[in-house]
């Protein structure tokens, strides 16, 4: 028998540990080691092949990594991202307000817009806007009930860049509208009633009570949209807008170094999304904390809430 009786004369003298004080030990199981072995094997294999396979042409990657046209493309990608996000958020806000309207025709219009723009591929929308002149060759901008008007040549107006910004913005607005609406839906009815019962005006209620409470839902989701938009801009390369992917494509169209240039573009996308994900996860952590147990005193003492 391997069991020992406490206090039996044969037991080794061990430091007296009460049962309450004893550590609980869970043995490592084989799968804990196997998972490590698998992960190391996969990563090791990938690293080996990328280093040893000549076809990756790493020297070419490095030589083009900071080429002027690549950097110009990078800047344009960022400009497209910022422009479409800002415009898309503003339009999304308008759509969200319309969507929440008690007037059925107004909310219906917004709903129609959102259904349409979320229900068709962005790529198709981009090509559509680029070719809009086929539908409306001339538009005349004027003031109703007056003779003042200027004809506009749509074909000249819809340059690849305009089509790109219009397409990305209109699409983004549909998603932002739903995010903003979701933020408002997350605020309890009782909050409106409490504000009303204090005699707050509609604007004060919105500004000091409702909007601050929509932010924990809206801001992290918007951050995700920014990261998504950054990658989505690569679609406008089909319109010939010289953003990052298109710039890489123009080079390999000449040199046939397709793979290395796609790697150059991918690395830049990766760097930018990783750079964006740092503030994004900070924002997410901050807001998930404040919805549960807010309040390190530093936040509590700020008087910015009112």
């Amino acid at each position: 028998m391997s069991t020992k009786t406490i206090g039996s004369p044969t037991s080794r003298p061990v430091p007296e540990l009460l049962p309450e004080q004893k550590k609980r030990i869970t043995p490592k199981r084989p799968r804990d080691y196997v998972s490590w072995a698998v992960a190391v094997a996969i990563v090791g294999g990938l690293v080996t092949t990328t280093v040893t396979n000549e076809n990756y042409q790493w020297p070419v990657v490095f030589s083009y990594f900071t080429a002027q046209s690549i950097l110009d493309g990078l800047v344009l990608t960022l400009v497209l991202t910022v422009a479409s996000m800002v415009l898309g958020t503003l339009l999304g806000l308008v759509l969200a307000v319309m969507r929440m309207s008690h007037q059925a025709p107004i909310s219906g219009l917004a709903r129609l817009y959102i259904t349409f723009f979320r229900g068709t591929p962005v790529l198709v929308q981009l090509i559509f806007w680029f070719n809009i002149a086929a539908l409306y060759p001339n538009v005349s901008l004027g003031i109703p009930f007056t003779d003042i008007s200027t004809p506009v040549d749509v074909n000249a107006l819809m340059t690849p860049l305009t089509a790109a910004i219009v397409g990305l913005t209109l699409n983004q607005a549909a998603y932002m509208a739903e995010i903003i609406r979701g933020g408002f839906a997350s605020v309890n009815r009782g909050q409106y009633e409490a504000a009303d019962s204090l005699g707050m005006s509609g604007f004060t209620r919105l500004r000091h009570v409702i909007i601050p409470q929509t932010m924990p839902a809206i801001i992290p989701a918007t951050g995700n949209q920014v990261i998504g938009m950054l990658k989505e801009t690569s679609l406008v390369s089909v319109l010939g807008v010289a953003e990052l992917l298109n710039s890489a494509q123009s080079i390999y169209a000449r040199t046939y170094q397709t793979i290395p240039l796609l790697i150059v573009a991918s690395l830049w996308y990766l760097i930018m999304t990783m750079a964006l994900s740092v503030p994004q996860s900070m924002i997410e952590r901050r807001f998930s904390r404040s919805t549960r147990r807010p309040a390190p005193v530093a936040v509590a003492t700020k008087e910015s809430l009112l």
Partner: protein, 255 residues
């Protein structure tokens, strides 16, 4: 005279769609009086209370709060809804305490309390903070002003909610089952604050299931069932010797 702390309702009617929730309610609360509304679930107690500060609109009947028609102005043949600013002004003289507290979670307890004075009455922030600290002390929460609602117990939150309503210096306080969402051991602390308020002459209209509180504090009791005031009278009298059979049955069930 303005904000005299009275409530008068005659033949109030209110429907949600085809469902008539208030079917000709009469109510009269004099200044400084405590009136409790009791009755089974769905009888329209909350709806009546919410009509008194305009969270619900009245379909028909007379509703005078603080000595003036509430939410509407009377003309020869109709009542016309007042503008939102006027409604907000009338509401600012009526404090409301909700079953679910409804504190603003994005503000500290003290910011909650000063929200009315600062944002509505445009009281100087420093003055409002001093007043808020007094009010928080009055409800037994001195020193808790920096905490967020999520860091407070239910009983503490409800007391902050009372302080927030009081900060507007209302002439009438409405309470909709203020202790129903609380753990039993926290009910007492909220009722104590309400008793204190009653002793200081505040006009109070209270929907409650706390019969002990009603017996001790209320001047009048209104028993509602099915949108109708079944019985109305002196609180101790109604509780001890209910005249109506339905009142008797209800009291037997809850006591």
């Amino acid at each position: 005279m303005k904000a005299d702390g009275t409530i008068v309702a005659r033949q109030l009617h209110k429907s949600f769609g085809s469902h008539e929730v208030l079917r000709g309610i009469d109510l009269s609360v004099a200044a400084g009086e405590i009136s409790c509304i009791i009755g089974p679930s769905g009888s329209g107690k909350s709806t009546l209370l919410r009509c008194v500060n305009g969270l619900e609109t009245v379909d028909r009947g007379v509703l005078r709060v603080n000595g003036e028609d509430f939410g509407y102005v009377e003309t020869d043949n109709a009542y016309h809804a007042v503008r939102p600013q006027r409604l907000a002004e009338q509401r600012s003289h009526i404090g409301m305490v909700f079953q679910q507290f409804n504190l603003f979670p994005n503000m500290t307890a003290e910011d909650n309390v000063i929200s009315g004075p600062v944002l509505v009455k445009k009281v100087n922030r420093k003055v409002a903070r001093e007043q808020a600290q007094k009010l928080l002390a009055q409800v037994g929460l001195a020193g808790c002003g920096h905490k967020y609602p999520a860091q407070l117990s239910g009983g503490q939150q409800q007391r902050v909610a009372i302080a927030r309503a009081l900060a507007m210096e209302p002439s009438i306080m409405l309470f909709d089952e203020p202790t129903s969402a609380l753990d039993p051991e926290l009910v007492g602390e909220v009722l104590a604050v309400m008793r204190d308020l009653a002793h200081h002459g505040m006009t109070m209209l209270v929907v409650t299931h706390e019969m002990g509180f009603a017996r001790d504090v209320a001047d009048e009791i209104l028993f509602m069932d099915g949108g109708v005031a079944i019985e109305r009278g002196d609180a101790r009298e109604v509780l001890a010797n209910p005249r109506e059979k339905r009142t008797q049955e209800f009291l037997e069930r809850v006591l």
